[in-house]
């Protein structure tokens, strides 16, 4: 059983046949008994018939021409871009084929050659270690080196042995010397004078830091007739 309110909410769908069979029967029953709802349906039907009887408005001729012109332009544009895309695609395929044909015969030998070269180089490189030789007049490669004795004119009258810590400036000259504590001391002033005079006549290679001459200490052991040991 449907009341007027429910029926009026479904009249539009009822017109279009968009209600369930059961609802349709209920609506038809209601319309048979309710003249106001039946009149409402007749009015809605009149609205629909009036809408459908409205004449179709003719398409303006200028619009027809404009649309044809638009279609022609757009079709030409589409063909142009389709052609351009096709040409680019074909050129890319040709280039890819050419590269493939060029590289395929040499790809395996080239890869094998590269692997062999790397393998052999690795083997040979290991054999180069230890071959480097040192020459006396090489520029010292170490970052910091100690002073070394270049020439000596030393004359001790006996076979005594003396160990000295000598301070050498950056030009290789002796500026000072001391006898290390654990190595005893000079017994007489005469002996000290002789050592000083002798060291004045001794030239040294200066110490270096990063290849540049600098001052520094060196420990030297003199043994009888100019036999020298040097400790940095």
């Amino acid at each position: 059983m449907m009341d007027c309110q429910q029926v009026r909410l479904t009249l539009s769908a009822f017109q279009d046949g968009r209600v369930l069979d059961e609802d349709r029967r209920l609506i038809q029953d209601h319309l048979a008994r309710c003249p106001r709802c039946a009149e409402r349906l007749a009015q809605l039907e009149m609205v629909r018939q009036s809408l459908r009887s409205m004449p179709a408005r003719p398409v303006p001729q200028h619009l027809v021409y404009a649309l044809r012109s638009l279609a022609s332009r757009e079709a030409a544009r589409r063909r142009y871009y389709a052609g351009l895309r096709g040409a680019v695609r074909a050129a890319a395929e040709r280039a890819s084929l050419w590269v493939n044909n060029l590289m395929r015969p040499v790809a395996l030998p080239a890869a094998g050659g590269l692997v062999s070269a790397v393998f052999l180089f690795t083997l040979v490189l290991t054999n180069f270690q230890g071959i480097v030789r040192e020459h006396d007049n090489d520029v010292p490669l170490a970052v910091i080196t100690a002073p070394t004795v270049r020439s000596v004119l030393f004359d001790l009258s006996d076979d005594s042995e003396v160990t000295l810590d000598i301070f050498v400036d950056e030009q290789g000259r002796v500026l000072d010397f001391v006898i290390p504590k654990s190595y005893g001391s000079v017994a007489t002033d005469e002996m000290r004078r002789r050592l000083a005079a002798t060291l004045l006549m001794t030239s040294f290679n200066p110490a270096t830091a990063f290849g540049q001459p600098v001052s520094g200490w060196v420990r030297v052991k003199f043994r009888g007739r100019s036999e020298i040991n040097v400790r940095g």
Partner: protein, 224 residues
């Protein structure tokens, strides 16, 4: 036995017969994408009149409607590459048309509301004259041209949301499913909009017809 319907309620033989020379919508689309002049011509021949009718019912100015139709077809031609066929071409084109018409209507309301036309008053006077004949019954009105003008006037005054639903249903005769697809709303919303649109039109028409009803029973002068 009614013809079999496809997913959107369009009869199959109608869908195939819409594209003479192409057989199916897919082949027409291929032609459009390839820039085939015949495909473009077929599309225009098939849709220029219905799209113009639809847009003109949603926009009252015929010149504006013609401009909008050109915009619609331009969007269709440019968008055909991206059209994936989730809906039929018909509902796709109608959707573009409805959206373009609404956009133009909004723009029109914003920019031209303040403009004054010289013929405005005359037009209003003409409309009052539409109902000068008080002697007809409602059924006489339906047969008369003035009735059509009255329904057109009522349609113009209808809310655009309901108007598009009613136009698509009663003038373009789309199914509820197609309308839902065009307007991108649910079937329930379509039902509601059609109901409210028709109700508004019915009320508007009855208001215009009520005086005539009353006078229809009044005594007529000897000169009539």
């Amino acid at each position: 036995m009614p013809p079999a319907e496809n997913q959107i309620g369009l009869p199959e033989e109608t869908a195939a017969a819409d594209w003479p020379g192409f057989g199916s919508e897919e082949r027409l689309l291929e032609g459009l994408r390839a820039g085939d002049d015949a495909a473009y011509e077929a599309l225009i021949q098939r849709f220029q009149a219905p799209v113009f009718q639809l847009v003109h019912r949603l926009i009252d100015d015929p010149n504006e409607a013609a401009d909008v139709v050109q915009d619609v077809f331009l969007k269709v031609f440019r968008g055909v590459t991206g059209f994936r066929g989730q809906s039929s071409m018909k509902t796709w084109i109608y959707r573009i048309a409805v959206n373009e018409a609404h956009n133009r209507r909004r723009w029109f309301n914003r920019h031209r509301k303040a403009e004054i036309t010289l013929g405005g008053e005359e037009e209003g006077a003409d409309r009052t004259e539409l109902f000068s004949d008080r002697g007809k019954t409602p059924y006489d009105w339906t047969l008369h041209g003035e009735m059509r003008t009255a329904i057109e006037q009522a349609l113009e005054e209808l809310n655009p949301v309901f108007r598009s639903a009613v136009v698509l249903r009663d003038l373009e005769e789309l199914s509820y499913e197609e309308i839902a697809d065009v307007l991108e709303v649910s079937i329930g919303t379509v039902k509601s909009r059609i109901l409210r649109g028709r109700e508004a039109l019915r009320r508007a028409l009855m208001e215009k017809l009520e005086p005539a009803r009353g006078l229809a029973w009044s005594p007529q002068t000897a000169s009539d």
